[in-house]
């Protein structure tokens, strides 16, 4: 079986409000679903790896073929619940270790 190449995305959550990880992931999933449908969402292989509510920092995982799709979906998020928000990608990497190294630079 072919191994899955994964990509890790470090994200900055730009908002005055705080959100829990569930609210955050719901917003990500619904953005992917809205733009690419259920088939697209199923291909994305999205998972939350790390979430720091106070630092407004998150790490998500996706498959390498879906990075552009996830990037677009994240850029389209303007609200979580009813609160305005923007999600910016800080860096993308193939391993968690190098992701943190790049993100903390």
């Amino acid at each position: 079986m072919k191994s899955v190449r994964r990509r890790y995305l470090a994200l900055e959550i730009d908002s005055d409000e705080l959100f829990d990880s569930r609210e955050f992931m719901d917003a990500v999933w619904s953005a992917v679903l809205r733009l690419y449908g259920e088939y697209g969402a199923s291909c994305a292989g999205l998972a939350l790896i790390d979430y720091d509510m106070e630092k407004r920092f998150a790490v998500i995982r996706t498959v390498h073929t879906a990075v552009d799709m996830v990037r677009t979906a994240l850029a389209s998020i303007t609200r979580i619940g009813n609160k305005p928000v923007a999600i910016h990608i800080l860096t993308v990497s193939g391993t968690i270790k190098s992701l943190y190294k790049k993100a903390t630079k």
Binding site: D14, S15, A75, T78, P84, A86, H88, I89
Partner: protein
């Protein structure tokens, strides 16, 4: 070489200096090196100078821009005569076909902007693109509607943008992607704006050019033209004095 990114259409509240500074600083933080704010045409020179200073502090280059919204071609020509030499970027908001056609063929126009969400009131068709390709105008696409609209309206907008960008590419009309926002939370990084362009099938290379090379080329061309050394295209003063 590192790419330089530009957002030529930020629309902060010009009556609130703090808001303007916030937007400029945020643009710098997001990775832009050149921005343009849509100034009201009657904005005082001192105010423009103050904004340039704020931008310098934020290590970002500011280009002055005016948005003309004429109702008739005659009004457009009058506006161009009045403002072309005062602003580095002249954009025309095309709300009628006559204005769109005049703007496309006039070499003083830099950007053609079609804000209408109504398919019948968007005039960037093949005839418009042909005129624009012979002039200097670029097609400007604001991303704000893509972010704030939802459902059928956004679907329709995407379909229109797909058609318009395809026509622009066929006729070699440069495309400029701008944010068009007045709210800091709607600002996106250049890569993110380019990613959003994939929704209307603009390939990655063209999208990256639309946020970097194309807007930079417009500003460079106009700064050359507005400089005191410019005489005519291809002719500029290199030295003044008695020994020349």
């Amino acid at each position: 070489m590192k790419r330089i990114y530009a957002d030529l259409h930020l629309r902060p509240n010009s009556k609130d200096p703090e808001h303007v500074s916030q937007i400029i600083n945020k643009a710098s933080r997001l990775g832009y090196r050149l921005i343009s704010l849509a100034f009201p045409s009657n904005l005082a020179e001192e105010e423009i100078r103050r904004l340039v200073d704020v931008s310098k502090e934020a290590k970002i280059d500011l280009a002055s821009r005016v948005d003309l919204k004429p109702r008739t071609p005659r009004e457009l020509i009058h506006g161009l005569r009045r403002f072309r030499r005062r602003f580095e970027i002249v954009a025309v908001i095309c709300e009628s076909k006559n204005v769109a056609r005049q703007a496309a063929k006039d070499r003083r126009v830099d950007l053609l902007n079609f804000p209408s969400l109504d398919f019948r009131n968007r005039f960037f068709d093949k005839a418009e693109a042909e005129l624009a390709s012979k002039g200097l105008a670029s097609l400007e696409i604001d991303m704000k509607p893509l972010l704030i609209l939802e459902g059928p309206v956004r679907i329709r907008l995407l379909s229109n943008l797909r058609r318009e960008t395809s026509i622009a590419q066929d006729f070699h009309v440069p495309i400029v992607i701008s944010s068009g926002v007045s709210d800091g939370l709607l600002m996106r990084k250049p890569r993110e704006l380019a990613a959003l362009a994939s929704l209307f099938d603009l390939d990655e290379a063209s999208a990256m050019e639309a946020v970097s090379r194309n807007p930079l080329a417009i500003v460079k061309r106009n700064r050359d033209k507005l400089s005191s050394r410019f005489v005519a295209p291809g002719i500029r003063i290199v030295r003044r004095g008695k020994d020349c």
